[in-house]
């Protein structure tokens, strides 16, 4: 059976017990197969940790990639700003 071109999987790691709290790491991996070649690209990143305390409380803490978000935000603002300037210049002619 042919493997899919893009394979996205959520992986749950082994629980870690620290100071009465149980931490369960969760990651997501994206595997992109290269057509006509052996190999591919794997992008693996943390998405959240599941926290379980001894008193029974349980919650999920998301792991945000702040650097990536700031990069995307800054570049988007830059591109939109450039587009805006270009439109203003064009309308004035």
């Amino acid at each position: 059976m042919a493997q899919p071109f893009i394979h996205i999987r959520t992986n749950v790691g082994k629980a870690i017990n620290i100071d009465g709290s149980t931490i369960v790491p969760i990651a997501r991996s994206v595997y992109i197969r290269l057509p006509l070649l052996h190999g591919g690209v794997i992008w693996n990143r943390p998405i959240a940790v599941l926290v379980r305390h001894n008193d029974g409380t349980e919650y999920t803490l998301p792991v945000h990639d702040v650097t990536r978000r700031l990069q995307v935000l800054t570049l988007t603002i830059g591109m939109l700003g450039a587009l805006l300037f270009w439109l203003v210049r064009r309308s004035r002619r």
């Binding site: 991996s29 794997i42 792991v63 990639d65 800054t74 270009w86 210049r89």
Partner: protein, 159 residues
């Protein structure tokens, strides 16, 4: 008189010992696929006094390889000149290559302190500054008209 080469006289074509190559490729591929493991993203807990931290990172790995083999046969040039009788020369060859790269970047740190658990993001100021400079460059260039398509077309036409 040139002797006609039989099939058994041909040089061995296939025996580029495939087993070690296949094993090496299999090992490389399995190590590559291991990047998708959750343990590659979350580090070992580090304890300092009352605080324990678990570092987390983003991992990107790329790998590509390929190989090929080929055989061929035809009349040997020297023998063709000496004699009218046809003689067959044959040969084969193969090759392969590949490459890969792994990138890793810290994303955040999970901090466990007493009963308090929180995630502290890791901000790479250098990357953000580079993105800001690039964005500012885009805007400045457009503002000054360097990226104007009309101007670019005029420059290309030599006007």
């Amino acid at each position: 008189m040139a002797a006609k080469k039989s099939e058994t006289d041909r040089p061995p074509v296939g025996p580029l010992d495939a087993t070690p190559i296949a094993e090496a490729l299999q090992g490389t591929l399995s190590r590559f696929l291991d990047v998708a493991n959750v343990n590659r993203v979350y580090g070992e807990p580090i304890r300092e006094d009352e605080v324990t931290i678990i570092p987390t990172a983003e991992v990107i790995a790329g790998l590509g390889f390929g190989m090929g083999f080929g055989t061929g046969s035809g009349p040997a040039e020297e023998e063709k000149e000496r004699s009218d009788e046809s003689s067959i020369a044959s040969g084969g060859g193969g090759g392969g290559g590949g490459g890969g790269k792994t990138f890793s970047r810290p994303v955040a740190v999970v901090v466990i302190s007493h009963d308090n658990v929180y995630v502290e993001p890791v901000v790479d100021i250098t990357k953000v500054a580079l993105a800001t400079i690039t964005a500012a460059g885009f805007m400045m260039a457009t503002l000054l008209g360097f990226l104007s398509p009309q101007r670019m077309l005029k420059q290309l036409k030599g006007e």
